[in-house]
Structures are given as C-alpha cells and as structure tokens.
C-alpha cells in the first residue's frame, strides 16, 4: 500500500475535523478526496505529510509511519497545499531551482517529469511568482512539488477557483503523471472531477460517507432521478418541493433533479400538477445519477 490511514481522528478545540477516518491507497492509484470546504481534507493532508499530529489512530506513507518515519516521508512525497505557498518574490525559475536544491537534486536531473507542464510557463520564467495568473501559479506549484521525483503526490484542492479549461488541462497532466508510476492523492470540491479518479472517498464534516470507484458509487444510488424543466425555473423548484411525495429537489444546470419517495410515482401526475399550477414547456424524463446526486443523498 502506498498510503494507509487507520482510524485517524483530529479535533481543534470544539471542532472535530476528522472522525475515525480509515482508507488505503494502492501504489500508482489516483485517489480522490471529494468534499466541500470544511470537510477535513486539508487536516488529513497535513497529517499525512507529517505537518500535523493526529489525536488518535495511525497512518503510513510508503511504509513509513507519519510519526517515526517523518523524515523519510518528507523526502519521498510531493505536497501542493491548497493555499499558494511558493515564494512570491522569487521568479518562476528561482522557485523551481530553490525546491530542487533543498531536496539535493537539480532541475536538469528531473526535468523529464515536469517538462510538459513547465514548457507552458517557461515563457514567464523571469516573472516573479506573485505576478502570475492563477492557472500559471498552479502549474508552477505542481512543478515544484514534482522536482525531487516524489513517489507520492499530495494535491490539496489544486483546481479550486480555476476555470473549466484549466481544470481539464490539469487533470490531463495528473493522468500523465499517474502513468509515470506516481501515486496521487488529490482533493477537490468539484464533483465532476471525481469521475476522473480510480477510487474516491466522499467526505463531509470529518466523516467518510463512502469509498468506492466513481462508477460503483453512482450505481448504488437508490432513487430514480428525473430531469424536470419548465418555463419558470424558480417557480418550478418551489412547486416540486411542495409536491406531496417529493423526496429531493435540486437544481442541476438546465434541469432540476427530482426524486420521489412513493413507489407509485407517475410522470404524468407530476406533469399534470405542474401544468395545473401554470407552468409551461414542461419536460420530465429519467436521467442517470451523477456523483453529485450520490453525494447529496449521502450527506442529507
């Protein structure tokens, strides 16, 4: 096992940040921690990268215990924190050289690992890191986390606040790194990114809601989900919520996702109800569940 977490708990004053968390990540796996801000993802990263000590439980990374093997872990993992943590006053190139030097290596030695990412920011190599755009900062941070050829990569919300285009590119980069044999633990609040992981843990309020492959998590979803659309989306939401057998009502882009608690649900009845209340252009059709549906069902 690349990463092994056993019954880890951590509290800060009154807040239980992690509550009996256990999971394992296999070598070469791309494992996602999926959950909103405040779920405990960062606390878990800090424990696994030996920056924070858990109250209870144990964890190991590449066979090294997070307490006894602290130095070994620090030498063999790359960590990209959620908050931009490079030196703002150093240039792109200086930051990279700095991180290589600390790990007693050179940029040239491991350039093959970062090449296809670095070429995208190379035109700005003399720019101070603080003056880079969000997308470029993220690429530089990834290069700096990779430059000592880590066995495991910890990425804490690398795509938060990043636009869809850069997010897609970033995930393509992760897939290529995975092919080079690097184990990756990545966290994200974007549910659509979960589908790109081998396995995921859904996490909220310090607890794991489920661990499985994205396909399995979606397959376990109990309710039939209906895409519902009508002329006035705001009114539609209110009306669906007031429908006597409604189970859940969530806006989902162009549609509202509706599930019903009754076994005898008929689309025609719902259609008639909405039409009776003045809605027009009503569409109701079954739709497959997504990770986000599964997450909301488990979190509720």
């Amino acid at each position: 096992m690349s990463i092994s977490v056993r019954n880890i708990s951590k509290s800060f004053k009154k807040v239980q940040a992690l509550d009996q968390i256990s999971f394992e990540v296999a070598q070469g796996e791309l494992f996602g921690l999926i959950g909103p801000d405040g779920a405990g993802k960062t606390t878990l990263f800090r424990i696994l990268t030996t920056l924070l000590v858990a109250d209870e439980g144990s964890a190991s990374v590449f066979g090294f215990d997070v307490i006894d093997g602290m130095n070994d872990i620090r030498n063999s993992v790359g960590y990209m924190p959620g908050k931009f943590s490079l030196y703002q006053d150093l240039t792109v190139e200086e930051n990279l050289t700095f991180f290589a030097t600390i790990f007693d290596t050179t940029v040239a030695e491991n350039y093959h690992l970062i090449e296809d990412i670095y070429v995208q920011i190379e035109p700005f190599k003399n720019r101070r890191a603080g003056a880079l755009s969000g997308g470029m900062k993220q690429k530089l941070a990834l290069c700096c986390a990779l430059i000592h050829q880590p066995k495991v990569l910890f990425l804490d919300e690398p795509t938060t606040g990043v636009d869809p285009v850069s997010r897609k590119e970033f995930w393509e980069m992760l897939k290529r790194l995975q092919q080079k044999g690097i184990t990756i633990l990545v966290s994200t609040p974007y549910m659509d990114e979960a589908a790109l992981c081998d396995r995921i843990a859904l996490i909220q309020d310090g607890k794991i809601l489920d661990i499985n492959s994205p396909e399995e998590i979606v397959a376990k979803h109990q309710h039939v989900i209906y895409d519902v659309k009508a002329s006035n989306p705001h009114q539609l939401i209110s009306l669906l919520k007031a429908y006597p057998t409604a189970h859940s009502v969530y806006p989902f882009g162009e549609y509202v996702h509706y599930t019903d608690q009754s076994g005898e649900f008929k689309q025609e009845d719902l259609h008639a109800y909405l039409a009776h209340n003045g809605l027009k252009e009503i569409v109701i059709q079954p739709t497959p569940a997504t990770i986000e549906d599964a997450f909301m069902e488990l979190a509720n």
Partner: protein, 244 residues
C-alpha cells in the same frame, strides 16, 4: 420572469489597459433590471478587471459605462452606494459575531440604527441563525458565511448586486440553497451580476457572457449559446470558446 425592459448596466467599448496590455479590450453589453447575468471567462480573461470598473473602484482607460444610472468616470461614489458586492476573498470579518458583522456593514451602508436592528432580526430569522447569532463568523462553515455575506451585501437594498465566485468550494447542497436566494432576490427586482466557475450555475442565469483574452466572445441565453456552439451543456460551450 421579472426581467424588465430597463437597462441597469450599459457598457460600450469599455477598455482597461496596463501599459501595452489590454486586460479589458472594448467590451460592450447591457444588463436589464431584474436580470441574472452570468459573467464567465477563464482565469486571466479580464473578468475581475472589468468588474472593478463596474463597481467604481477602478477607472477605465477608455469607453463608456453606466451602472444604476451613474457614470463610472464621474460618479463612482454614487455607484458604490447603489450596489452590493460580495466575493469569496472579501466577505465578512471573522473576528466579529454574526450580529456585529450585520451591524457594522449596516453602518457602513449608512442605515439608521432602527433600520439596522430591524434588518438584523429579519436576516437572522430568514437564514435560521438564531442559535449562532452571537458566535464569531470565523467559526461558521463556509456555506453559512457565504449566505450571510450575500444577505449583508443586500442590506441597503441595492439595485444591483455583484457576486464574484460566491459559491467556490461550497458544498453541493448549500450551493443550491445559495442560488435559491439569488432567484428570490432577482424575483424581487434586484439585478444579479455573477461570476462562477461552476458551469451548471451558468444555466441558472437569464443571459451569460463569456470573456476570452479581454473581449466578450459570446453573449446570449444559455439555450441559444448551446445551439450556437452545438453543445450539450454550458461546460462544452465554455471549453469550445475558451480553448479557441
């Protein structure tokens, strides 16, 4: 829908240059009163620069813009009084309680003591904050903070509220509750100008503009944009446009 045929934002040829670099390059559009207007674009496309001009804290290099009837060149102070603004970066004071934050921002917006009291009570009740009203804001979950922050930005009943990535990192359920608050405000006639990186949220807007390298490359209803770009959803529209 409550969108009215009255322009609340009018922008024509608006430009902001930093040296040779045009961060915002001659953008033009109008926003109607009561509209939910999605302002999308990749990181670095110029959204924040454009928004700073519209809220009166950055003077344009050239072009014209009127917000709530006031000119961005000559009446920036009037604009500030007539709009609300919230972003994820600047929201509330973590070291003040919920009630203290409301009182503070009410004061900043020039509300009278009695108004602040009434508004506070109303807001605390609507958001179900009775149990936490005397807690420091810093101890609350992000989703709650964002809901309070939105309500605070609406305290002085602004004509327009500017929301800069209001739901980033917020859990999926709270994110949806947040949009229900937006719908409600829009129904009551407030104009919503919102940026987001969640493309499902772009679908909730009446109209959406997409900025690429300082220019507005597309502007229409989500439905029309999907037809125009032969895309199934707004995410595909965005990828097609912003990737060039």
């Amino acid at each position: 829908m409550s969108v009215r045929d009255e322009n609340i934002i009018e922008v024509e040829g608006l430009t902001k240059a930093f040296g040779d670099f045009k961060a915002v390059n001659e953008i033009s559009f109008v926003v109607k009163r009561g509209e939910i207007f999605g302002f999308l674009g990749a990181n670095g496309a110029g959204k924040t620069t454009a928004m700073k001009m519209l809220i009166g804290i950055s003077t344009p290099t050239s072009g014209k813009a009127k917000v709530a009837g006031f000119d961005v060149f000559t009446s920036a102070e009037d604009i500030k009084k007539n709009i609300g603004y919230m972003s994820q970066k600047f929201a509330l004071y973590d070291d003040l309680t919920v009630r203290e934050n409301i009182t503070f921002f009410g004061g900043i917006y020039g509300l009278k003591r009695q108004q602040i009291k009434n508004k506070s009570n109303q807001l605390i009740e609507e958001l179900g904050l009775e149990d936490v009203k005397n807690q420091l804001v810093g101890s609350l979950p992000l989703g709650w903070k964002q809901k309070i922050s939105f309500s605070v930005a609406m305290l002085h009943e602004p004509k327009i509220v500017f929301l800069d990535e209001p739901t980033g990192g917020v859990d999926p359920i709270t994110r949806r509750q947040f949009w229900e608050m937006i719908y409600k405000a829009a129904d009551e006639g407030t104009t919503i100008f919102v940026t987001t990186h969640y493309m499902d949220e772009a679908e909730y807007c009446n109209r959406v503009s997409i900025m690429v390298n300082g220019k507005i490359e597309a502007l229409d209803t989500p439905q029309k944009l999907k037809e125009q770009f032969k895309a199934d959803n707004m995410n595909d529209v965005f990828l097609k446009l912003a990737r060039g």
